[in-house]
Symmetry: C2
Subunit: 148 residues, 2 copies
DNA sequence: TTCATATTGACATCATGATGTCAAATCGCC
DNA sequence: GGCGATTTGACATCATGATGTCAATATGAA
């Protein structure tokens, strides 16, 4: 009923889910030091380079527009971002970082960089590259239907 | 500011978060074929071996008791589980699988086994073991404070 | 046994993300 | 230019998981 490969695959999947949980928690922790949350950080970071519409942010980060909309509205209320008119689209305004939003984002990203540098140095570049490749391969595999 | 190792670590973390998302979606899909959700499947599976209290389920699956309580109450309402008196603790009743709950759980687990067998066969046992080890190592690392 | 401490269930509130629907706006094909 | 399809924002509802509080219960030290 369950092959050794099936057992191993299930163990891997469970381990990945657990690691994903830890990674998310680490992200929440990093964001909290800037007085934000992971969801807010994701939206702030998305518009760090250039203003985007809510729908564009959702596509860029693999989220539906609706949750992004809610977070974006909160950020706008708090003065970390603001909606600017979009010459391309009358309704779809561009969410833009304010000066305060830039400060907050830079602070969180700086902390994240230190965190990643410290962890990365311990692992070593070779193992990191292999790990990244392995996880990326696995993702492509899980995306495929199991029958093929 | 950002070392190559830091860059690689960040890429890995983002990839893991993405894979975790896919794995969760796969779990939701498997559970849905049994008319359940991932959260309900997790609770059903936790009491598959022996009855447990809500708090025990939470600890076993790394969740707080409160969300488990809510899911458990729904399962009890739907007749997939039932609360039985606990000789060890007057208030903490044991959540127990009903016959229907057993059927549903077995069906979902059978489907998961087929899914895992098919995917596992494609990857191969060696790569799976290496991937599992790598991910487990990374988790231990992220759990440590970054300074050490 | 007694009493401080920890655990537990039962509430509440909240953040997050998914999904559905609708009308306005844009785009693309003709 | 006109018109159908798509995109978008703006609502709504829902599932999930985290957190906090409280009283009832169990546990362990004295």
């Amino acid at each position: 009923m369950r092959t050794p490969e099936g057992e191993a695959f299930t163990s891997f999947v469970v381990e990945v889910a657990t690691l994903g949980h830890f990674v998310t928690a680490a992200g929440e922790s990093l964001a909290r030091h800037g007085g934000q949350s992971l969801a807010r950080w994701v939206v702030l970071d998305a518009i760090g380079e250039r203003p985007l519409t809510v729908a564009q942010i959702g596509r860029a980060r693999g989220m539906a527009r609706q949750p992004v909309q809610r977070v974006a509205d909160v950020l706008a209320e708090e003065g970390l971002a603001s909606y600017q008119d979009n010459p391309q689209h009358r309704r779809a305004r561009l969410l833009t970082l304010t000066a305060r939003g830039r400060e907050v984002l830079d602070a969180i990203n700086a902390r994240q960089a230190a965190w990643a540098n410290a962890h990365g140095a311990r692992v070593g570049i070779d193992k990191l590259r292999r790990a990244h490749q392995l996880v990326a391969d696995m993702r492509k595999l899980i995306e495929l239907p199991p029958q093929s």
